[in-house]
């Protein structure tokens, strides 16, 4: 019985807690037990079980007193990118070894205030730079899905979050998404992940990668759970000047499943050359499902799609090189040991060479290059102009009456860990080809599990919505989820 509790959805757990059918203490213990037995997945990397038990006790008291928000007593996993007070928060990087924030990120503070229970910190790619969770200082997180003797990637950068939710180690988890880091791992592990509109969730206290693209969002077992958890994470925050001062609607109440008359755009530019047949087939099936649910399907064009990935790989490294300049060995984290006679420049250079992994070093240096004198206009300014055009493509589709856009979430199912190790960096970047446009345009995007491929691995579809209309987007996703009827779970091998 205990081990089954952690398999509940957030909505089921909430209802059971309120009905007094179980306590948060029991539910939390059940998750902690499963985490303890899932070392092989390497999903949880910092244990906060004492804190979790204390929070569960508090939550039970609140539920008893009849003061229970939706998240009250729900055991959650938190991506290591979120600063959590007094708890190691190191963005999976050696350079933040030993860092214990003296403050709490706004999103995790919101979750705490709603009664959420933090089970621990979750594995990820270093500074959220990666699509396979292989750049982490903690080692690879492993996908609970397995079809042969290979260990598969759970995707990245929110790989630990995806693995933990898919393996029922927690009820739900936080993720962050700069180019696809919530949606791609969600698709690789058969769960739901939504990146909200830029500005919906505060970025305060989240370790910065590319500030104009980063957004936090929930990773959950169902669309309903995503609606509930997003409501608890979102909201205006004076500490983040880009946080939107607009009301957060009751997303769950908007899940009617009725999408009759909604216009769903199918962008022809997402039909990539060499796209696997099974991805193409899944996309067609998803289109039929939405049509059968009463939506109008319309072919649309987003002509600058092809340039999204190269624009992203100018803008994101440029912002990263600026954001990561703060890791200088002075204020927090790692500092290199200096030889006699070495000064401050050697301290910076050695500290950053020792503290940053290869992919982070690469991106910081690419960013430095595209921002350097003589190249700023040719690369950085040009990329920002292309970004304007990419956003304009979406604006025009929405102005023409499109309510949501359906695309594949990823160009493939989960691949094997180490399989990409000999490929050049650009091959790995192609994982984000369908998701990165959404960050560049600041739009909400959600990945919904929609079926299994021939080998038996989950595949996801992505829905892209109008800015600030996550409620409508979640409702369309809810209709797709109901039609797809994806209920498969990974067989437990760990």
């Amino acid at each position: 019985m205990m081990s089954d509790m952690s398999k509940m959805t957030l909505a089921q757990a909430r209802d059971a807690l309120r009905a007094g059918e179980l306590t948060s203490a029991e539910l939390t213990e059940s998750c902690l037990e499963r985490i303890g037995a899932a070392g092989a997945l390497n999903a949880f990397v910092h244990d906060t079980s004492d804190l979790a038990r204390a929070q569960a006790t508090e939550a039970d008291a609140r539920i008893q007193a009849g003061d229970a928000p939706d998240l009250c007593g729900i055991p959650l996993g938190i991506k290591d990118l979120f600063c959590t007070e007094g708890v190691p928060s190191q963005a999976a990087s050696r350079i933040l070894e030993g860092f214990r924030p003296q403050y709490e990120s706004t999103v995790t503070r919101n979750l705490r205030a709603a009664g959420g229970v933090m089970l621990g910190k979750l594995n990820m790619d270093e500074f959220a730079m990666g699509s396979s969770n292989e750049t982490s200082v903690y080692g690879d997180a492993v996908n609970p899905w397995k079809v042969d003797d290979r260990a598969l990637t759970p995707g990245g950068s929110s790989g630990g979050s995806a693995a933990a939710v898919a393996a029922d180690l927690c009820i739900a988890a936080t993720g962050t998404d700069t180019g696809g880091s919530i949606r791609q791992p969600a698709a690789f592990t058969g769960i739901v992940g939504i990146k909200p509109t830029y500005g919906r969730c505060s970025r305060w206290g989240i370790v910065a990668f590319a500030s104009s693209l980063d957004q936090a969002g929930p990773m959950t077992k169902s669309v309903r759970d995503a609606a509930i958890m997003l409501g608890a994470m979102a909201g205006h925050d004076p500490m983040d000047s880009t946080s939107a001062d607009i009301p957060v609607p009751d997303f769950e109440a908007m899940l009617t499943g009725d999408i009759r008359g909604k216009v769903i755009g199918i962008p022809r530019e997402y039909r990539m050359e060499g796209m696997p047949e099974e991805i193409e087939a899944l996309w067609s099936r998803g289109t039929e499902m939405l049509r059968d649910a009463g939506a109008e399907i319309r072919d649309i064009s987003l002509p600058h799609t092809k340039y999204a990935l190269p624009a992203y790989y100018v803008i994101a490294p440029a912002e990263a090189s600026s954001n990561l300049a703060r890791y200088d060995g002075v204020r927090y984290g790692h500092r290199a040991t200096l030889e006699a006679g070495e000064g401050i420049t050697e301290m910076y250079e050695k500290t950053r060479a020792e503290g940053f992994g290869a992919e982070v070093q690469r991106r910081v240096m690419v960013g430095t290059y595209v921002l350097s004198a003589g190249f700023y206009d040719a690369y950085y300014n040009r990329a920002r102009k292309v970004r304007t055009l990419i956003k304009r493509d979406f604006d025009q589709a929405f102005e023409a009456g499109v309510d949501a856009i359906l695309t594949p979430a990823t160009p493939s199912a989960a691949f094997g860990l180490d399989e990409m190790s000999d490929a050049d960096p650009v091959q790995m970047y192609l994982n984000d080809v369908f998701t990165v446009t959404v960050n560049l345009a600041g739009l909400p995007g959600i990945s919904v599990p929609a079926g299994l491929n021939g080998a038996g691995l989950p595949l996801g579809l992505q829905l892209i919505g109008r800015p600030w209309e996550e409620g409508d987007l979640l409702n369309t996703a809810y209709a797709l989820e109901s039609a797809a009827g994806f209920v498969e779970k990974p067989a437990q091998w760990w």
Partner: protein
């Protein structure tokens, strides 16, 4: 545009990341792969297009120009690799 070893070394220096001489050829090759990919942006007609500064059309909020925070020296220094007498300590900067 091709990156030679000298440019790779200069970029590493600007980024304040130590790269040994024997690692430079591989680094330059990786830069070239990534920059080759980025070159595609040159195909796009961006005549008259404004570079994006804000993805959502919102005005940055203003607030009263008053002190709202401070007196947290202990917290500020709590994670420093080397803090002495209430300050961050670093190697000698000025001879």
């Amino acid at each position: 545009m091709s990156i030679d070893l000298e440019t790779a070394a200069r970029v590493a220096k600007l980024a304040r990341i130590r790269v040994s001489d024997d690692a430079l050829p591989e680094l330059a090759a990786e830069f070239n792969t990534i920059l080759g990919f980025i070159e595609q942006l040159g195909e796009v007609d961006v005549e008259g297009v404004e570079p994006m500064t804000s993805v959502t059309p919102m005005r940055l909020k203003r607030r009263e120009d008053v002190v709202t925070d401070g007196h947290q020296q202990d917290k500020v220094l709590a994670n420093a690799p080397d803090a002495r007498e209430g300050f961050f300590a670093v190697p000698k900067v000025v001879e």
